[in-house]
Symmetry: C3
Subunit: 268 residues, 3 copies
């Protein structure tokens, strides 16, 4: 593990109208006054562990080695789910063991430690706010160079969700809309590598809602304003968008909707 980068990122579903994010920052600064705090997102849908996992996956590994990612989407706070520290590649993650780290550990070697050593916690721990009382101080102590092993025993397994993977065969792929961003772009769970396999074929169709698309474009602007376009988005996934428009609203498609790519057999 590299030495700390001096950066702690924060990810939560706490929103911006409450004192919860600030309470975590205050606790961190009391312990580690020189650390740099970077908000990843606090506007994730309440209790949406999958959205948190998605955001972490797409941004955590862009940070300098030795960065600590504090992530709190924690509908089971105070229940039997354990607080954990996860080491993946050159990054550290601190938060609840509830699936939030499913995507950052995917296909990656990782180590997991239970946060059981109370000397890194706040003296009084609220059963409803481990973000302030356990995760924030642990992240702060990590940023001061404490080794992961100090925080508790190593666990064999991390809780991970296997969110539905796309199903692929020689006739095509069946996936679904995993995320809709602020522009209404429909981001699927179908990675670029799946799509590339079908590019040699004479023709294929992509079905989403009532819309059929026949090409994978490179950028939004390849189609006229207001028209639907399929492309590989900046997260490396198949994405359905409207050039200068909102695909969620204009195509009437919701998170979770099926998206399929079907190969057109030549009639020869």
């Amino acid at each position: 593990m590299p030495s700390p980068s001096g950066i702690i990122t924060l990810t939560s579903d706490f929103g911006s109208q409450d004192y919860y994010v600030s309470a975590m920052k205050a606790v961190i600064l009391g312990i580690s006054p020189d650390v740099r705090l970077v908000d990843i997102s606090h506007g994730l849908p309440p209790q949406d562990i999958m959205a948190g996992a998605w955001v972490l996956k797409n941004t955590a590994f862009l940070y300098p080695p030795g960065t600590i990612h504090l992530a709190v989407i924690d509908p089971g706070v105070g229940s039997s789910r354990r607080p954990v520290l996860v080491q993946v590649r050159d990054q550290l993650f601190v938060g609840p063991n509830n699936g939030l780290f499913s995507l950052v550990v995917e296909s990656q070697e990782h180590r997991v430690f239970e946060l059981s050593s109370k000397r890194f916690w706040r003296e009084v721990v609220s059963p409803t706010f481990h973000g302030r009382d356990i995760f924030a101080p642990v992240a702060a102590w990590l940023s001061r160079g404490e080794a992961p092993e100090q925080f508790g025993r190593e666990l064999k397994e991390l809780t991970t969700y296997r969110w539905a993977k796309p199903i692929a065969d020689e006739e095509g792929v069946q996936g679904w809309v995993m995320h809709i961003d602020r522009y209404g772009n429909l981001i699927t769970n179908i990675p670029e590598s799946f799509i590339r396999k079908y590019e040699g074929h004479s023709a294929f169709k992509i079905y989403v809602g009532n819309t059929i698309l026949k090409h994978i474009s490179v950028s939004f602007s390849e189609v006229p304003d207001g028209e639907a376009v399929a492309l590989i988005g900046s997260s490396g996934m198949l994405e359905i968008a409207i050039n200068k428009g909102n695909a969620e609203h204009m195509l009437g498609v919701e998170k979770g909707a099926p998206v399929s790519l079907v190969i057109q057999k030549s009639v020869s």
Copy 2:
């Protein structure tokens, strides 16, 4: 008063779609280039002084000694309300004298100074944006070590609201919902100390909307998913929540609604 911590926090109802927060930060950085800026919240409901008072109370004292809290919820900007600086315990608060600091001074010794010394203001002061032109530069100069006495004369009294306190007698407590957070948790104005007095009793009932609760739980997860639970929240107040759900929506209760705890007399 301890020396400055090097931190200025910012709290406002300015939202995130305007230039107002940035204007305050730019002014601060022009005066005090090395200070650390931490946002507490800018998503408070427009002109909701009570919400600001609540957020400050729950987070300000977690910061290192000598932290400066710039707080601007200021519906009376440009009227006769005075700009002030308030010293409470080891923290400093800067903002309008309109009740915003009611809860941070509650039961605390404090000193109040009027911000009248114009050499700490911007040269031109807009009558509608004291945040940028008075409060931000004052906070910046404070962070550089100027003594509170330099900013203006000491005032005998701070404007404070006495938001309705719960009423308690031997039969129970009558309070109300003071805040609803992003999860829909109903946070009351009934502090833990009030509740503890009734715990020896054989039985009590908590009434909120059309719901009756008979226990104070420790965490959300003590009840099944989707059921209502009463507990002491992370702010030390009685809170009504739904495990993995939204109490505001599911119980149909709004901010300001009454909450009462009534002791059940034994029939013996």
Copy 3:
């Protein structure tokens, strides 16, 4: 050009529920670990270039000399619009050449450079996220002191929109609502200088929606709570507001609505 202030500001329409802002920050910190990041706004309406131009104009020049402003509202990402760097007074702007910098260059000498030197880009550039792959690394390298000339050839012209200017003659001014802030204040495109010309006149009327106002006030509180008021706002523009209320909702006026000031001829 002054040496870098050590500050990079960020402005976008990325919102707070995605990883886009964080991805830009991570890339910057990987290149320029000591730079200070200040968010101007990420809550601008999706693809609203005018809103971005307005926010930049009102806040950029408050920052210390040598500050770099990274601004990404980029509906044409991946199309033929060029990535640019703009030098205005003592500030630098980085973003798409799509009109976003129209208001910061207004009546100001400025220089424009095309961002064509790929050694300052990320190795792989997504056609849909130049914020992460071109603009963020360029801003980071600028903050390390690279000269604007290093990034590409100088362009003769910047793309600017000439958003409708108010029309003025001896009978009055015809303008429109250019921006509505979080409080519902209606900010017009009529600058203070236009208004001052008419102040000598015995009387004038300001028409907005179904409301007529006869005075320019100094602050909101000059009228009773709940009444409409016209004043010069903190941005130096004519503004229509409701004292402690929301003019957008109470007057039923939308962005783009006409606002006119008409001089009342004396009957003598």
